[in-house]
């Protein structure tokens, strides 16, 4: 296989993977949202849907939802503009899947003379691509609001598009600060430069060279702006239930509603990926650069096993106490289910411990170090992404909704000046350091 064919296959495969990644995250995210909101509000959350008695702590509810949404009546309002009405959900979904193409899942690795890249598209314009794609996302909302021919959806669409445009500015400026610090626009370059340790004035600080430490203000601006961009609480005025019923997707039912719903969650997954890639070092494992991981596979294995042990034990323990402390709540739940799952966690922990114990005896085949490093980096990135997914849920069930004038004031009178000031300070500091 010549290198060109290999690159083509590599890019195609990664494109498919990056398109599917948000889709894979959506059921998990919805489950997280439901269970997270439940435990925040002292509830149990969904626990009823089952397949042959297996409930997986409410995860089966997503399948039930899919079936429900697919079987519902697919309504098109008679006075709606049919073409644009149909176009809107597809537009929203398509646009929400595109930005992930530039996010690298792991550092490129060399296997058998070929370089495998874990990034679908390495555009020269890098992160600007993401900004431009997200700016196209407004049209889905606007179209849905206008084409449904309903005053509530029109109001929702107008609100949400005004909000998205306003916060795009702060988001762009926060990214510009990052570009100034890392001296590049390409996403893989930004992630690579986050692998080293933080140096300030010639001193090396015991902190990774992450965007959150170099641009703390930019990080908060980007985070808040991404909450607003995804129309997420506390900025979900587009669907202010108390006044607009459901906002721009009020007239959508069945599959079309499912598309909007999925687009919303997929947007959040993309935001989580972007925040962790730009500001939390992406795939970089803190304090262990890619070279370290590739050259010392023992270290990689140790970290992997350590993660396996801790997570296995934590998950096992949580599920065990769940199984122990059931009131007759989940009546009809198979009693063995939590035990099996907690056993799996425990098994993961024990297996990791065993590998760790015998790791000095393992001789690595030549391809193994790079693959292990890539695996660890992917797990690291996914951990960060899951954390941000949880943050989205956490904030949603904590914050009340903003009022519209407060939202606009925050965007234009607080965040935009702060972002500009952040740029100024960053520029001055960079000049002094030179």
């Amino acid at each position: 296989m010549d290198s060109q064919t290999f690159t083509l296959i590599n890019i195609t495969a990664m494109t498919v993977v990056m398109w599917l990644t948000p889709l894979q995250f959506i059921p998990f995210f919805i489950w997280l949202e439901r269970k997270g909101s439940a435990i925040i509000q002292d509830r149990l959350g969904p626990n009823r849907a089952e397949i042959f008695g297996i409930r997986l702590f409410g995860l089966i509810h997503n399948f039930a939802d899919v079936v429900k949404l697919l079987m519902k009546e697919n309504i098109t309002p008679s006075s709606a503009n049919a073409f644009y009405y149909l176009l809107a959900p597809f537009w929203a979904m398509t646009v929400s899947l595109l930005p992930l193409l530039v996010v690298p899942l792991a550092a490129p690795i060399d296997i058998a003379g070929h370089t495998v890249r874990f990034q679908a598209a390495n555009f020269g314009v890098g992160i600007l691509y993401v900004l431009s794609i997200t700016s196209m996302g407004v049209f889905g909302v606007i179209l849905a609001g206008w084409a449904s021919n309903n005053k509530f959806s029109l109001l929702g669409g107008l609100r949400s598009s005004a909000q998205m445009i306003s916060y795009e500015l702060s988001m762009g400026l926060a990214v510009v600060g990052l570009l100034m610090v890392y001296q590049g626009v390409k996403v893989d370059g930004i992630v690579e430069s986050q692998g080293s340790l933080l140096t300030f004035n010639g001193h090396t600080l015991p902190l990774p060279n992450w965007g959150i430490f170099l641009q703390p203000v930019g990080f908060f601006l980007f985070l808040v702006a991404s909450f607003a961009e995804t129309n997420r609480n506390p900025f979900d005025l587009a669907e202010g239930e108390s006044e607009l019923v459901a906002g721009y997707h009020i007239e959508y039912s069945s599959v079309k509603f499912a598309l909007f719903f999925m687009a919303e969650y997929s947007n959040m997954v993309v935001s989580a990926f972007l925040v962790s890639t730009l500001f939390l070092g992406g795939y970089q494992v803190p304090f262990a650069s890619t070279e370290t991981l590739v050259q010392k596979p023992q270290v990689t294995l140790f970290i992997l096993c350590f993660m396996g042990i801790t997570w296995g034990l934590a998950v096992g323990y949580l599920l065990y106490i769940y199984a122990q402390q059931q009131k007759p709540l989940y009546s009809g739940m198979k009693r063995w289910e939590p035990f099996i799952l907690s056993g799996a966690g425990l098994g993961l922990a024990v297996g990791s411990l065993a590998i760790l114990a015998f790791s000095s005896a393992i001789t690595f085949p030549p391809w193994a170090p790079a693959v292990l490093a890539a695996l660890l980096q992917m797990i690291c990135l996914l951990t960060k992404v899951v954390f941000f997914c949880w943050l989205f849920v956490w904030v949603r069930w904590t914050m009340p909704r903003f009022r519209y004038d407060q939202l606009m004031n925050l965007g234009w009178k607080l965040m935009l000046p702060v972002a500009l000031l952040n740029l100024l300070v960053t520029g001055v500091v960079l000049l002094i350091q030179k």
């Binding site: 700016s135 196209m136 669409g157 107008l158």
Partner: protein, 167 residues
């Protein structure tokens, strides 16, 4: 061959959407066709290795100006009698004049500048990227750039003065 296919697809979309813009009765439909036209134009810029401009085209035109336009169209509660279709005679006449002009000027143009006259130059690396364009702006065109920021400020203030009911 691939370049030709890409060019003709993008050009076809661009011209079709341009025609849609001027023929649709409903301004929203026009504006959305315009968005698609801009995306096609961005693609054409990309084939001319102007990657930064392609992104700017989508970011500013499609994501900014057109959203503003659609926003205003929705904001003004247009009466149905406002939505007049294209005036067929005026459209036909203007297109006819343009076609005649094209048929007169086109051959002259092609005579003076034959198809093979211009070649795509060999490019220096990073042509059209954010760095090279930025370097050009902040070295040779610094003054116009600064003046431009003044213009934008004036536009912002002007728009505010014009559209706000009570200052």
């Amino acid at each position: 061959m691939l370049e030709a296919v890409v060019f003709y697809i993008l050009a076809g979309v661009l011209v079709a959407m341009g025609l849609m813009v001027i023929t649709r009765t409903n301004p929203i439909a026009s504006a959305l066709s315009m968005v698609v036209a801009f995306v096609a134009l961005a693609g054409l810029y990309a084939t001319l290795s102007a990657s930064l401009l392609a992104i700017i085209q989508i970011l500013v035109y499609a994501g900014g100006i057109m959203v503003l336009m659609i926003f205003v169209i929705m904001l003004l509660n247009l009466h149905p009698e406002d939505l007049k279709p294209m005036r067929a005679r005026a459209g036909a006449v203007s297109l006819a004049i343009l076609a005649v002009l094209g048929f007169v000027l086109g051959p002259i143009f092609l005579k003076v500048f034959p198809s093979g006259q211009w070649k795509m130059a060999t490019l220096f690396p990073d042509f059209g990227s954010i760095f090279t364009v930025g370097e050009k702006i902040f070295s040779d065109y610094l003054f116009p750039f600064e003046v431009l920021s003044l213009l934008l400020l004036a536009a912002v203030v002007g728009a505010l003065v014009l559209s706000k009911r009570k200052l």
